[in-house]
Symmetry: C2
Subunit: 224 residues, 2 copies
DNA sequence: GTCTATATATCGATAGAC
DNA sequence: GTCTATCGATATATAGAC
């Protein structure tokens, strides 16, 4: 890799710069997630990279712009996960469970994403609202869920008074809480919600919860 | 904040001093909730009270000690709400719904509590762990839930593979998410989860969700 | 693009009079 | 208990050489 780069000086410099920026973003993500926006230190980020503080400002302009780039990066990541979910051959019930489990799997393995979302909410999403990319792209996660629910309602197996956003809210709430409130929950109740021994049953429970709620046909407004 | 959070002042402290401390705590709660621990400014808290910054340090010693007092105060508040819940004459199903709705009602009307819990989780609950009062008192919320579930299992109407902490987790997750992730959710999906027009249906849904999950008797391990 | 050194601002905390 | 004034530490951001 390094040899190839030195053979092509022009690309080498750019590629090296891109790698340096990636390096900064990686460290910055951890720093912001761990300490919040105001608590994060640019000095600390610089110290943990191969580059210097001067380069952070050279590449990103400001602490806020760096934070925004970090935010866009983790939202792009979950978008990729969501796009990869396949539910074509599944029944509405099975599809719902699979979507819930996929969200649970993503959130429980991406603690920094959840922390950054919490931080962003403390700041009333004012940074997120500056990102047209996130606002435009991340809302599309809901379309798959809409199709599943519509099919389930049409087949008469789902209640019809809960829409896709409500279901997404229930799934996200459960999966987020496991990670976001892990520490206060553990401190008070002495149970680590991310304990690997608990994950199979918690993964089953999120599916049970969503399926049981949606399959409760007593709540239908119209007869199928 | 409209709730009565004030404690009875010590005999040695004048009424004016106690009122001054209450004034500081009121403003500090809002300041920490709105900006996080590192983002909160002691100067700003002082400016919005009738007292001065010097007095904040005189009464509370440090920014961190002030924050800890704020934390204990909001946790004491939810404890009072939890203690006031009456479910004596209700069936296990009705009791479960009432507990879920009470949590929903508390969280949706105490945004600052939820924000402070989020902030505390960003800091890995390191302040909360210093408060013996919170750790000792707030875990008792679970006993009422334990009794309800035990009764429901005994009567053969609830599944028996989900314990009280899991139910508490599901209820808290739903109710917390509404408040904690309100801003990112609204930014991306253009729906304010705290819109008063949505509250009746969301309040019904949390009850439906918990009852449907627990009443799913296919998940029983033992025959009642 | 990369470095060292530094400007500029702000914040938590305190001194000391009354 | 209460005030004004201010310290000392630390933060973001930048200057300017190479």
């Amino acid at each position: 890799m390094t040899d190839q780069l030195s053979e092509v000086p022009d690309e080498g410099v750019t590629r090296r710069a891109a790698r340096s920026q990636e390096d900064i973003l990686e460290v910055a993500t951890a720093e912001f997630a761990a300490n919040g926006y105001a608590g994060a230190r640019v000095d600390e980020i610089a110290a943990r990279t191969r580059t210097t503080k001067r380069m952070i400002y050279y590449y990103f302009g400001s602490k806020e712009a760096l934070y925004l780039t970090v935010l866009e990066r983790v939202y792009a990541q979950i978008r990729r996960v969501e796009r990869g979910i396949q539910i074509d051959e599944l029944s509405p019930t099975e599809a719902l469970r699979k979507l819930a489990e996929a969200t649970y799997d993503h959130h429980t393995t991406h603690e920094m994403f959840i922390q950054l979302v919490s931080i962003e909410n403390i700041h009333r999403a004012e940074h997120l609202q500056q990102s047209e990319t996130i606002l435009r792209e991340n809302a599309t996660a809901i379309t798959l869920l809409e199709q599943v629910i519509e099919r389930g309602v049409r087949e008469g197996i789902f209640r019809d008074d809960v829409d896709a956003l409500d279901v997404h809210m229930m799934i996200s709430a459960y999966a987020c809480f496991h990670v976001a409130n892990r520490h206060t929950f553990a401190a008070i109740f002495k149970r680590d919600m991310l304990d690997p021994a608990l994950q199979p049953s918690h993964r089953r429970l999120i599916g049970d919860m969503i399926v049981a709620t949606m399959a409760d046909r007593r709540n239908r407004r119209t007869v199928p």
